[in-house]
């Protein structure tokens, strides 16, 4: 979980990055807690990498950046206390060992000490046996491990990771994420991970900052960002596909009754203050599909017609017409066992405890 201290290790206030006259990133306030892993999550082009480069003092910005409570007035000195791993490994045409030692050599560390530190870092990433291999003979996954080893060898107080797995194939990515998670846990190094991949963010981060159009839109513990996105755009980005306009009918017995189209839906979530027409958010994974009318504890069950079946990897995305559009995800096996076909009538259910409610219009 997030280790907190009195002062965040890094604070950004009114951080603005300009391209020409255009603000491409504007973050009013962002605190990086020491020892934690913050994922900066957003779609391509949202400004994630630009934000990371600004936080690492690698490009000009306006605003305030405070490291351990003091303004970053000497970017070079600050950069010698952090490390950055980019999407591509960016290794020099030298041996793996020399690459792993590079940050230490640039800091003037004596050869014997840096060799030992680099060897330890390579060992942590499981590539000690590659130490003498020329960097240009490494696979993509091995090269990225060297890049990460080079970063952790300097003992950074903050480790910035800019989509470090994006260029890797799935098995390599999964193995590296698992190893990196282990290293980060063991070293308790404060980490900022930029990614567009929700699974990566959930695997590594304890807090998630969602950035859209260069603005920080939500900062919360990882689970809450996915279960309770703060506005419809974030909901759409984090995979909450069912965002339904609703009207509050009544609030009683800890249940809010909403009308969606001509159906009544009960949820335990309270509507936003003063909002009679909230948006109802239901994750497709939370919708259960059955052939027979449901006899479960789920408060919400609707007969619906399957409009479309879309196999996506190991899942099947089902688009239903229940009098309102509803998307559900089931496994390929469930879809096969239920013999689902387009045009079939099925029952869709979800618990009252699962949806959450958003205000119809995001506050400016």
């Amino acid at each position: 979980m997030v280790a907190t201290s009195q002062t965040p290790i890094l604070e950004a206030r009114d951080l603005v990055v300009l391209r020409g006259a255009r603000e491409i990133v504007h973050v009013r306030a962002l605190d990086i807690e020491e020892g934690g892993t913050l994922a900066v999550l957003g779609p391509n082009g949202a400004g994630k990498t630009t934000l990371l480069l600004a936080l690492a003092a690698l490009l000009p910005f306006r605003g305030e950046l405070r490291f351990r409570g003091a303004p970053v007035s000497d970017p070079h000195a600050y950069r010698r206390r952090i490390a950055v791993v980019f999407q591509r490994p960016l290794l020099l045409d030298r041996s793996v060992r020399e690459n792993a030692e590079l940050g230490l050599a640039l800091r003037g560390m004596p050869p014997r000490e840096r060799r030992s530190r680099a060897a330890e870092a390579l060992g942590r990433l499981g590539i000690a046996h590659l130490a003498d291999r020329p960097a240009h003979r490494l696979s993509g996954g091995e090269a990225q491990r060297v890049s990460i080893a080079r970063a952790i060898a300097v003992g950074p107080e903050i480790l910035f990771l800019d989509e470090p797995f994006a260029a890797l194939d799935a098995p390599t990515r999964e193995a590296l994420i698992a190893d990196l998670a282990r290293v980060l846990r063991a070293q308790r190094v404060t980490t900022v991970l930029v990614t567009h991949d929700r699974d990566e963010a959930l695997s590594l981060a304890d807090r998630i900052a969602v950035i859209l159009d260069g603005r920080l839109r939500q900062l919360d513990v990882a689970e809450r960002v996915f279960s309770s996105p703060s506005d419809p755009e974030i909901a759409a980005f984090v995979g909450v596909e069912n965002v339904l306009p609703a009207r509050v009918e009544s609030i009683a017995d800890d249940l809010t009754t909403l009308r969606v189209a001509d159906r009544l839906i009960e949820v335990t979530a309270e509507p936003p203050v003063g909002e009679d027409f909230p948006l109802l958010c239901v994750r497709p994974d939370d919708v259960v599909i059955s052939r027979d009318p449901a006899t479960t504890s789920a408060r919400n069950s609707f007969a619906g017609t399957i409009v479309r079946l879309e196999p996506i990897g190991r899942r099947v995305r089902i688009v239903l017409d229940c009098g309102f559009p509803l998307v559900a995800n089931v496994t390929v096996r469930s879809a096969r066992d239920l013999a689902l076909a387009e045009g079939d009538t099925v029952t869709a259910s979800f618990k009252a405890t699962l949806p959450h409610l958003l205000p119809r219009h995001r506050a400016a």
Binding site: H76, V84, D93
Partner: protein, 232 residues
């Protein structure tokens, strides 16, 4: 074909016999062009690195000047250097007219733009993110530049070779400022012109083959240095 065959056999004979004039011209060519190239590398790589990596007002103009310098006619350079080292010239006090230093100066003026220009191009072709990565690792601008120069070493060897090639085979400038003094400033190229002007084509061809052999030898060594397995 006869003069060419005569030239080949003549070249072999003069080399085997260690002909003093040929050896003097060959060693003068190597010494003068080698010195000019070395000076071009010393000055050209740092300047090329600045032009390739730094961003400053007037950079494009400076690059245009360098690119123009890559195509300078040797006779124009020779004329300019001759004016400088002439007895009444700006550097007349050095008494360099008709000496090897004057040829070195002229050849430096010819080789340096090539080394500067190709170095700038080599460094501009390095992945810009690598520079950001080095900065993030705590490199100072000087450390970054040095590492990027090392990363570009294959292209920089080519730049040096191009600089050497530009001066070892030039004639106009060397003739104008060196005066073709036998045993001193007579280079292989100026000796070839002299022999050809006397109608001694066999002798001229012999010198041509020796010059080509010399260029091939230097190219072979630098190519070997460029292509050998990289040291770790």
């Amino acid at each position: 074909m006869e003069p060419i065959l005569e030239g080949i056999t003549g070249a072999i004979a003069r080399l085997v016999a260690l002909d003093a004039d040929v050896l003097a011209a060959a060693s003068a060519s190597l010494a003068v062009s080698g010195t000019a190239t070395a000076l071009s590398i010393l000055v050209g790589i740092p300047l090329g690195a600045v032009l390739g990596l730094a961003r400053f007002r007037g950079r494009t103009l400076a690059l245009s000047v360098v690119n123009t310098g890559m195509g300078l006619p040797p006779v124009a350079v020779g004329l300019f250097v001759a004016t400088l080292v002439w007895r009444s010239g700006l550097l007349g006090g050095l008494d360099w007219y008709c000496t090897r230093p004057a040829i070195v100066m002229a050849q430096f003026a010819l080789a340096a733009p090539t080394v500067i220009g190709l170095t700038a191009v080599a460094l501009q072709s390095v992945d810009p993110m690598l520079r950001t990565q080095l900065t993030s690792l705590g490199a100072t601008p000087l450390q970054s530049a040095w590492l990027l120069v090392r990363e570009s070493r294959l292209l920089l060897i080519s730049a040096a070779l191009a600089g050497f090639g530009a001066v070892i085979s030039e004639i106009g400038a060397s003739l104008m400022v060196g005066c073709n003094v036998k045993g001193d400033t007579r280079l292989l190229t100026t000796a070839i012109v002299l022999e050809a002007s006397k109608g001694e084509f066999g002798s001229a061809y012999a010198l041509v083959f020796i010059l080509l052999t010399l260029i091939f030898a230097v190219s072979a060594v630098t190519t070997w240095a460029q292509q050998r397995p990289r040291p770790l």
